[in-house]
Amino acid sequence: MIFVSIFSRSPSFRSTQLCIHIFEIAAFFWLIKDFSCQYRIIMDTKLEIMIEMLISLTNWEDQMKRRNFLALAGLLTAGLLSTSALAADPIKFGVVSHLTGPLAGGEAVTHIPNIELWVQQVNERGGLSVGGEKRPVEIVTYDDKTNPAEHIKAVQRLAIQDKVDFMLSPYGTGFNLAAAPIYAKYNYPLIAVSSITDEIEELTERFPNMFFTLGSTSGFVDGVVSTLTKLREQGVLGNKVAMVNVADAFGIELADTARPKFVEAGFEIVYDKSYPLGTPDLSPVVKGAKAASPDAFVAWSYPPDTFALAEQAIIEDLDVGAYYSAVATAFPAFSKKFGGKIEGVLGAGGINPDTPAMQEYRNAHEEVTGKIPDYWASATYYAQLQILEQAIEGVGEIDQAAVIDYIKANEFDTVIGPVKFDQHNNSDRYWSVGQWRDGQFRAVADTGMGDSADPVAKKGWN
């Protein structure tokens, strides 16, 4: 607010447009004030963009003013940063998040609260034991606006300028793959979580710093096929499947993998369509699927359409014995929105809510962040943090290469059970299909877990 008044009083100040930007920056500062440390950095980046914009927008004749202004803004930024500094010598973890942009909603559910929880827990214990002393952990976050190019720049910045000690994996298959070379270049261990691909072997061969925890595309499709097969064996499901997918790398890859697998398992695909990401009205899709009178409905969908498809299915009373939708079915918001209507709905993910470790984690998550964790990758993302924590303490010093070797060689005790990476840096233990039962999204299919429940048929929407 100080510099707003300075500039308003200046007589030679003509560009009223500038006022707007100054107001925005002032507002940003106001926001920053209340933000936790991980958000501070992103606001600073925004500030930089604002200042850049500001300079390019205004054709100031008085160069002095510009310098004064920049100096002032710089001082304020520096002041803010110094107040946010933690106690002696923290271990720095960098993460490039989608704080804005199309994937921000998912990131906010699955990743950010887990980082918050872990930082709080570790620092409460006094930090990580490295080199004979306890060191607190600190997170440096950048927003990439869900833009791969920005993402790569931010990773570089974390490595070169902030010199972070470790990095946390980004949200989304595309981002984990697109940014893999840059993480590999700086040789940070990268334990990918929100990433499902069939290219794990090729990727880890090229990028030996990379690890996978959430399974492969085939594993996921196999989970769905085996769930439907089980229901058919129970005699509660016919073999006509309606399949739709979001026309995006994720949906297309899953649909392409699923098509032959369904046919192989003796299912008949009676409806097979895609729709563009962000389609405002999915009623033609659900109406079309219903007209094909399927026994099962499978949607390889993204969050906004997962919500919209379920709502349309309820409205159209899409009467199927199995209803599956992919990302966001496991979100607490899904059950909050639909209540008891989604009893029996199948979706990507699932967990075993009965293990003590899982229960302890879920309680702590809700207590610290005020949010219920999702029933899929949340726990696995937290497991990533546990693996890093155990590996860093196991090595006993800040040595990325040694931590990578340690992760390859050891088994880790995590919230999702023991995690051990195979020769392709892949942990082949994950839940793949969940089902909503009495307000919990319980795993009904898995790879290597062995604790899934038996699926049941969906009985109407009410």
Binding site: T100, A104, P284, G288, F307, I314, A333, K337
Partner: protein, 287 residues
């Protein structure tokens, strides 16, 4: 029949999205890039109030209308009027207003992320209604009724009242309107404020059936812009008709051909209109 009904409903929501921008761009000459963010802000308000107090979005709607009007008025008076005053010509103002509102859109996204960074999703009137042999969602039907009310109201206001006449005069020529004694500054502020109000209300209505998040505004800005340009800048009728055409075509393509081609068909129509009637369906050719 399926196609016509769902096309009408979709077109109605498109009209809701576009009418506000049309007033702001057509009359106040502000190319408001923060239009979509304002819409999402309305949606966030509805979501927030509904999930915390359980109050119906149809009640929140009135509060949003008032706040949207007052807020847009203030934004115009404080931030945009100076741009209007200093700009030598229309082109200059367009560039300035784009840059200024672009900045505002960042600010609004930041505010919304800090309030609720997850998806704004809730269930309101999500029940089936049988209508002329097809089923539609009640929330979409309600939104459509509001779209008809708002569209009709705006049309009557613009064509049957004195204030509306002044608004239309400014839309045609701010210079000439000033010469015949219309307070152009005031009328522009009024148009901008009404535009903001309509957009905020549209956000409330759209949020009952579309899952939004803090960053999704730009998609609505683009859609609104396409519709406004298709219909003709500064003409409410044009926006409504363009929105209905778009809704019908998308729904027909999704049902008859393939849902994957809806986006392509929408841009196809946009392209055709730009090629054969660059001033928009109801637009006047630039002098």
């Amino acid at each position: 029949m399926d196609i016509v009904i769902s096309g009408l409903l979709l077109g109605g929501s498109y009209a809701l999205i576009a009418m506000g921008l049309n007033l702001q761009y057509g009359v106040a000459r502000i190319m408001n890039l923060a239009n979509g963010e304002l819409l999402v802000l309305g949606a966030l308000a509805a979501f927030w109030v509904f999930t915390t107090t359980g109050m119906s979005p149809l009640v929140t709607l009135f509060a949003v209308a008032i706040v949207g009007f007052a807020g847009s008025w203030a934004v115009y008076r404080i931030f945009l009027a100076p741009l209007v005053r200093r700009s030598a010509n229309q082109g200059q103002l367009e560039v300035d207003s784009i840059l200024a509102t672009f900045g505002m859109s960042f600010f609004l996204v930041g505010v919304m992320v800090s309030i609720h960074s997850e998806y704004f999703t809730y269930s309101f009137l999500a029940s089936p209604v049988a209508l002329l042999g097809t089923t539609v969602a009640l929330n979409r039907l309600v939104a459509f009724c509001f779209a008809v009310l708002i569209g009709g109201g705006l049309y009557l206001w613009l064509n049957r009242t004195r204030a509306g006449l002044a608004v239309r005069a400014v839309a045609v020529s701010p210079e000439a309107a000033g010469l015949v004694g219309i307070n152009v500054d005031r009328v522009s502020a009024l148009a901008f404020a009404v535009g903001g109000m309509v957009t905020g209300v549209a956000g409330v209505l759209v949020s009952t059936f579309i899952t939004l998040d803090a960053s999704v505004g730009v998609i609505f800005t683009m859609k609104a812009l396409i519709i406004v340009i298709m219909g003709g800048v500064g003409d409410i009728r044009g926006s409504i008709i363009a929105a209905l055409i778009l809704g019908m075509v998308e729904s027909a393509v999704a049902t008859l051909i393939d849902p994957g081609l809806t986006l392509a068909s929408a841009y196809m129509i946009f392209l055709l209109i730009l090629l054969f009637r660059p001033q928009g369906l109801f637009g006047r050719r630039a002098a």
